[in-house]
């Protein structure tokens, strides 16, 4: 009964999608996610549009989300009639017109690497016939983007539409089997929906990995006239942006997932708690919800069933602690976002005292694929205990940065080395789990990424930030960075977290300055353990993790700071001195122009000299130098004094 309602619209959607893919006019697709925009995609679009209108080309422009390799942004695809999309990387405004003009004339540029994009999208396991039947009419030296080293190892279930469809077009989503999961769901009793998610083995993607079905069941087991669903899109973890990319590229996947979850737990109202720092994602969600209303996918009696559900968008006001369930609920109730003791758990008594389920964006966005393809299909991916795939934002000192999706159980090495192309300099560590996680070094790179293995290694899966650190990153400084963050974001309610984070920062500060005593390392460990045991919420309980894991695997680097007063990465300001290598310096004076204290001097076209007494170690000159002539040297402070 429910299935018939969308059918008419679906065939129209399929026609529109086909006519775009097999358009008689050339089509230019521009990646306009936040990362694309930050790289200049808006200017690129303007340049292309101006040129098109000046030259009278009849070309259609389509906005898409981000396909993942953000380091290649702005990404522009050109699709000629009868040919697949060809992807051009790094098309900033100054290069765009020339490249697009050549592409429209049917030339493939010799210099720049290009790829063609299969209709189903790269790495999409349930793309259907679109992927199989395509035969590109292109020169042999244009590889499929699915073979790009960053995309080849990926399995894209959650991200299947990102960068492929126009996120503002519900027809594109429908044409790629959108809302089929919901239709299937509405045909089942709620018990079977929960059973399906149980069989699929889906666990919470917010980081803790609690089985989704069990949380739902708790909520169902509580008698109530009203239940609520909340989507936690308050992606506050610094260094993680998978949820932003996902919502910007495919908002309907999340919304369809919310309908499925709402049906399963018996909620009639859902909230999306989203960061105000994500204006584009918010805009996309509003547009998508308008489209849903028009199709009868939101409101009373959805698709003619007995299920009624509405969604309200709430913008978070900027507080990391609101990622914690009870703090998030307090914030939705109009209070300070402070956590409370549990139990009662929100699944029993949450928003306005009613049973409430809080699920992460990725958890919810996975549901359509599970319902559409069945639990057996989904549980093929991943490991015995951690089923399915997980998205990560791969950033930091790694060659290829962006958003990726891999089956759980993939090793860190495969992600860092194969997908990320390795560290920029010598690999030092990979940081997972953000301010709640830890740093794992070279010897742990073969750890499979799943909930249990990462926890055993002293880190956590977290929401999906993977930050690569290389030999130019100081482990102590990184630990201090995380603790400064949690100190800022601690809500102040419980003493262990409020006071403990402050003390940890103080001690780490003195380590970075080379002023700490050897006993301070034991103090860090002791204090960290106390905070873990006695803090009220997850923020305080996990805040010491970056310090504890770094101490476990990189104790030597801490000892270097406090015993030898030496920062091997030349990051800690009090333990570093800059100098100019006369062999490399050509005397271009760029460094002189940026030095705020006039510490660099010398005649033009000759090696410059740097006055260490004037230098404030701001690194402006290091950034400005094009000849690698300025570098920081670790200096052993006391040793120098002794001489």
């Amino acid at each position: 009964m429910a299935a018939g309602t969308l059918e008419k619209r679906r065939s129209r959607a399929a026609r529109r999608w086909r006519s775009l893919r097999q358009s008689h006019r050339p089509v230019v697709y521009i990646g306009m996610g936040s990362c694309g925009l930050a790289a200049g995609a808006a200017e690129t679009r303007e340049a292309i549009e101006t040129w098109l209108s000046e030259t009278g080309h009849d070309v259609r422009i389509v906005e898409v989300g981000c396909i993942g390799p953000c380091y290649l942004e702005p990404l522009v695809d050109v699709q000629l009639p009868g040919r697949p999309r060809v992807t051009f990387p790094n098309l900033t405004a100054d290069r765009a017109v020339k490249t697009v003009a050549a592409a429209l004339a049917g030339e493939t540029p010799k210099r720049a690497p290009v790829w063609w994009l299969p209709g189903g999208g790269p790495g999409v396991e349930d793309a259907g016939e679109a992927a199989a039947t395509e035969r590109p009419d292109l020169p042999d030296d244009v590889p499929a983007i699915a073979q790009h080293p960053m995309l080849a190892p990926q399995v894209r279930i959650v991200l299947r539409n990102c960068g492929v469809i126009d996120p503002d077009e519900v027809d594109h989503y429908l044409a790629r089997d959108g809302y089929r999961g919901l239709e299937r769901c509405l045909d089942l009793p709620w018990q079977e929906v929960i059973e399906t998610v149980k069989e699929a083995g889906l666990r919470g993607r917010g980081g803790a990995g609690f089985p989704t079905w069990r949380k739902w069941q708790f909520c169902r087991d509580t008698e109530s006239d009203q239940r609520y669903l909340i989507c936690n899109a308050d992606e506050g973890d610094p260094g993680a942006f998978m949820n932003r990319s996902l919502i910007e590229g495919d908002p309907h996947a999340l919304l369809e997932g919310m309908l499925i979850a709402g049906y399963a737990i018996g909620a009639s109202r859902g909230y999306i708690y989203i960061r105000a720092e994500y204006p584009l994602a918010i805009r996309r969600l509003h547009a998508a919800m308008d489209a849903m209303r028009e199709l009868g996918l939101l409101g009373d009696r959805i698709l003619g069933s007995d299920f009624s559900f509405d969604i309200v968008l709430k913008e978070g006001a900027g507080a990391f602690v609101c990622g914690e369930e009870t703090a998030l609920i307090a914030s939705l109730e109009g209070k300070r976002g402070m956590p409370r003791t549990r139990p009662p758990f929100p699944a029993v008594a949450g928003l306005f005292g009613k049973p409430t389920i809080i699920n992460n964006v990725e958890t919810l966005s996975t549901l359509p694929a599970i319902l559409r393809n069945g639990p057996a299909w989904y549980s093929r991916f991943g490991t015995e205990t951690s089923r399915g795939t997980k998205t990560f934002s791969l950033v930091g000192k790694v060659r290829r940065t962006g958003v990726i999706e891999v089956p759980l159980g993939t090793t860190l090495r495969r992600v860092v080395e194969d997908i990320g192309g390795g560290a920029r300099k010598d690999f030092k560590a990979v940081q997972t789990g953000g301010p709640s996680g830890g740093c794992l070094g070279e010897e742990l790179l073969d750890t499979p990424i799943d909930y249990e293995n990462l926890a055993a290694a002293g880190s956590i899966m977290g929401s999906g930030g993977l930050i690569v650190l290389d030999s130019d990153t100081c482990i102590v400084d990184t630990a201090r960075f995380f603790l400064t963050f949690t100190q800022d974001e601690s809500c102040g309610k419980c003493a262990p977290c409020r006071i403990g984070t402050g003390h940890l920062v103080d001690i780490l500060d003195s380590v970075c300055k080379g002023e700490a005593e050897p006993e301070d390392l034991d103090r860090l460990e002791q204090l960290g353990l106390i905070m873990k045991r006695s803090s009220l919420c997850g923020l305080g309980q996990t805040a010491p993790n970056p310090v504890l894991s770094s101490l476990k695997y990189f104790r030597e680097e801490f000892e270097d700071h406090l015993l030898r007063h030496r920062c091997r990465a030349a990051v800690c300001r009090d333990l570093v001195e800059f100098h100019i290598d006369p062999g490399n310096c050509v005397g271009c004076l760029r460094c002189v122009a940026v030095c705020p204290t006039g510490a660099i001097s010398g005649p033009r076209a000759e090696p410059q000299s740097l006055d260490p007494d004037k230098c404030i170690k701001c690194r402006s000159c290091v950034d400005a130098c094009r000849y690698d002539a300025i570098s920081g040297d670790p200096v052993a402070v006391e040793a120098a004094d002794a001489d």
């Binding site: 942006f241 900027g318 402070m338 930030g465 690194r619 950034d623």
Partner: protein, 172 residues
């Protein structure tokens, strides 16, 4: 919400149009609310969008509407990083200090701006031209380090690019 898209000037920075009178603006601030506590944060957000910041009078009026004391409203508003209690400057600079930006030199960018503008993070220049903020993460980590000027995000920043941006602002 009338948040502009990333890349255009963000609505919360726009000074209110002299057109509509204060009561029309207040009607917008209180629209679709039931005058209950859960409406507080959306009301504060809209008030900041309309008036640019939350003045003492704004806070008091919101408190009266929701039958909350002024101090209770302040209690909530000051908890969240989004709310400002001083009039906004003409230009707003944000330097991202998320993890990826930190390891790729975000701190140097912030310090450069602090030196150039002679203000600390969170401060406003005496002439009311620039306001400098640090932000925990803008979610563009792949292009770190990242900064924003008047809501537009700039990736792969360095000291030189920052200087150019600042000069462009001053010339305009």
């Amino acid at each position: 919400m009338s948040h502009g898209e990333t890349g255009t000037e963000c609505a919360c920075r726009r000074t209110p149009d002299p057109g509509p009178d204060a009561e029309t603006l207040w009607a917008y601030v209180f629209r679709e609310t039931e005058g209950e506590r859960p409406d507080l944060i959306p009301i504060l957000q809209r008030a900041q969008t309309v008036f640019g910041y939350l003045s003492h009078d704004t806070i008091r009026r919101i408190g009266r509407r929701l039958r909350m004391s002024t101090s209770e409203v302040y209690g909530v508003a000051t908890f969240y990083a989004q709310f400002r209690f001083q009039p906004p400057a003409r230009h707003r600079l944000q330097v991202c200090l998320g993890t990826a930006c930190h390891v790729r030199g975000g701190v140097q960018l912030l310090e450069t701006l602090e030196r150039q503008l002679d203000i600390g993070a969170g401060g406003t220049t005496d002439d009311g031209e620039f306001q400098l903020d640090r932000v925990a993460c803008l979610g563009c980590c792949a292009l770190a380090p990242v900064s924003t000027l008047d809501g537009k995000i700039y990736g792969d920043m360095n000291v030189l690019k920052l200087q150019k941006l600042l000069d462009g602002c001053r010339d305009a």
